[in-house]
């Protein structure tokens, strides 16, 4: 277990480092920041002095070192658009994204798991057909389009829920459905196929032969084993929810990190962008690390594969 943990931890660190290198290269590829910071009346001495201040006169590997040191302290400079430290803005926006991610994750479990079980138990029934429809749409519809269509029907045409924003508490419904549908579909498929396999196994037949009630067989004997693949996927899900929020937050003007990232990107606000990307990556990596560890605790076989 310790070896597994260590290995998993190293992977997480390496991932964060790769992203930080990408961001560093990006920030240098864009051009010299002095061109933006200095005005037309500056002299060559000003240029050199500022270079020394910002550490631009040092070789690249040392500059990267400075970048990492600042990043570790959460210092990414000031946002050009808002004139405030980038990290402050990012932390302000974080709760909205976490709220949306939690809602979508809960939704994907609440829809995916029961529907998956029912589909497997009543194979070929109307419920199964319905479940397959839900899964197929969820896996095939591009999330941005799904969001736009939901918004069109339920906000613009029917006026049931506000089309965007976070002021009205009902505003979270559509973004959460849009983001959660894909993962609900994946959970449904995984649970369904795992349930079908498990229900076919010997120990289930034995349980049934002993006269255990159908409900107990399904919920106690079968589901416990069928849930493992879905759990593995949950790790990927948690992380990918973060990235999915980029699209959904843009569509629904949800004031979270995703929208912030896209705005910073197209407003060429590099300090802000660096901060967002790093926080996003940390969330992503931490989520998948956590779930991997949980998973290894639940199913010991994974540690050896």
């Amino acid at each position: 277990m310790q070896r597994f943990l260590l290995r998993r931890f190293i992977i997480a660190i390496v991932t964060v480092m790769i992203v930080s290198v990408v961001i560093f290269i990006m920030s240098r590829a864009v051009g010299d920041p002095r061109a933006l910071l200095l005005d037309d009346y500056s002299t060559m001495e000003d240029w050199d002095r500022m270079g020394a201040e910002l550490g631009l006169d040092k070789p690249y590997y040392q500059q990267y070192g400075i970048f990492v040191k600042d990043a570790l302290r959460g210092e990414f400079g000031e946002s050009i658009q808002q004139g405030r430290p980038a990290m402050h803005i990012v932390l302000e926006r974080l709760p909205a994204t976490l709220q949306l991610a939690t809602a979508s994750f809960a939704l994907s479990l609440l829809i995916g798991v029961p529907l998956g079980i029912l589909s497997a138990v009543q194979r070929g029934s109307i419920i199964d057909q319905f479940g397959r429809g839900v899964a197929l749409v969820g896996q095939s519809a591009p999330p941005f389009w799904l969001g736009i269509m939901l918004m069109f029907f339920f906000s613009v045409n029917l006026g049931w829920v506000p089309p965007f924003g976070r002021e009205d508490p009902r505003g979270i419904i559509l973004p959460a459905i849009t983001l959660g549908w894909f993962y609900a579909a994946a959970n449904l498929r995984l649970i369904r196929s795992a349930m079908l396999d498990v229900l076919d196994s010997e120990y289930i037949k034995l349980a049934r032969a002993k006269g255990v009630s159908s409900q107990t067989v399904i919920l106690k004997h079968a589901l416990r084993n069928a849930v493992i693949p879905a759990l593995t996927f949950a790790g990927v899900t948690l992380g990918a929810l973060v990235t999915g929020s980029l699209v959904v937050e843009t569509v629904f003007a949800w004031p979270g990190l995703g929208k912030l990232a896209v705005d910073a990107l197209f407003g060429l606000d590099y300090a802000l962008l660096q901060a967002v990307v790093i926080v996003f990556t940390l969330l992503y990596v931490a989520a998948s690390f956590l779930v991997d560890v949980l998973y290894a605790l639940i199913d010991p076989r994974i540690r050896y594969t």
């Binding site: 997480a12 992380g239 896209v262």
Partner: protein
């Protein structure tokens, strides 16, 4: 045997032109609809210049925002007035404009005015905000999706398969190194990285394809490695080794063919994801540079005009969904036929 004879005696149906139950049965056993839709996409992509009715990039501004051919014109009844203030345009119409419609119109008349023209067969799916034909743009958009998917699969798939073969065959540190690389790649937030790259290096086709290759190779590598580990222990591989076959020969002739079934299934299912990702990047403004028609950016174009002109965003999105759906259905079918063990992906 007896049952069969009875059945023949009892059920004497007139042989119809098309047996509906047979059609239904065929549709359930064979992926007819998905394959039909996919071939439609492929043909559109390959033969776009010949089948597209209009130039996808050149619009006629006088004919912008036209609805699809089946929707009629929207009219409203307005009162004719001498002069019309901007805020009264909803219910009033100026005398001069009214006389263009009905030369006898006088101030105070009620007159039917076409607010939005109806669709025509000239533009089957309507036009967008620049007067470009939506159908033609969707047909050309198929081309972009196909090219991106083909290159990504070709390059990313080859890298993935090669590394997967190496990892599985050599084992030890080679395996360890490649698989840890795979783990890192799989935990990288690639869309974010793609966006960052696009902003710092500029929108380009190469960046999208590179990012998608980075996305896809680890999935191939992981799958192929697993297969190689199984195949490696087979007797015929040992025999090939004993008879002095080179490593390259063993890998290419004895092991690689054994992984093809898996590869086909993984490839079909991954193409759907690649097409989806490409559309997401295009939607976020980081896709193939405009004015090239890509499905994702077309949805993005129509997004703000949804209330009045719903078709601009709806049809390209529908094209993405149907394509990916067909790929998924076809992939599922292939998997069940070729390799039921893969049910979990």
């Amino acid at each position: 045997m007896a049952n069969q004879e009875f059945a023949e005696i009892l059920v004497t149906r007139k042989p119809g032109l098309i047996d509906l139950s047979k059609v239904w049965h065929a549709a359930r056993t064979w992926p007819i609809l998905p394959v039909f839709l996919l071939s439609l996409v492929v043909i559109s992509g390959v033969a776009a210049p010949w089948i597209a009715p209009h130039d996808p990039d050149r619009g006629v501004l006088q004919e912008r925002n036209l609805p699809p051919f089946w929707s009629g014109a929207t009219t409203a009844s307005k009162t004719v007035a001498d002069s019309v203030a901007l805020e009264d345009q909803g219910r009033l119409i100026s005398l001069r404009q009214a006389q263009l419609i009905d030369p006898q119109a006088v101030v105070g008349d009620q007159i039917e005015v076409v607010i939005q023209p109806g669709g025509s067969t000239k533009y089957l799916l309507g036009t967008d905000q620049l007067g470009r034909d939506l159908l033609s743009r969707i047909i050309y958009g198929a081309r972009i999706s196909l090219i991106v998917a083909a290159i990504t699969l070709g390059v990313g798939g080859t890298i993935g398969v090669t590394l997967g073969l190496m990892a599985g065959w050599y084992g030890r540190w080679v395996d360890e190194f490649i698989m840890r690389l795979v783990d890192v790649m799989l935990s990288l937030p690639l869309i974010l990285v793609a966006l960052v790259l696009v902003v710092s290096l500029g929108q380009s086709f190469t960046i999208i394809v590179t990012v998608l290759c980075l996305f896809i190779w680890p999935r191939f590598a992981r799958q192929v490695r697993g297969e190689v580990l199984l195949l490696k222990t087979k007797d015929y591989v040992a025999l090939a080794k004993v008879s002095g076959a080179s490593t390259q020969r063993i890998l290419m002739i004895h092991i690689f063919p054994g992984t093809i079934n898996t590869l086909i299934v993984v490839a079909t299912l991954q193409v759907g994801i690649v097409i989806l990702l490409e559309s997401v990047l295009s939607f976020l403004g980081a896709g193939v540079p405009p004015p090239t028609a890509a499905w994702g950016s077309m949805v993005s174009d129509g997004r703000d005009r949804l209330a009045g002109f719903w078709w601009i965003a709806t049809f390209p999105g529908l094209a993405i969904m149907l394509t990916v759906m067909s790929l998924n259905l076809f992939g599922d079918w292939l998997r069940d036929k070729l390799d039921p063990r893969l049910r979990q992906i």
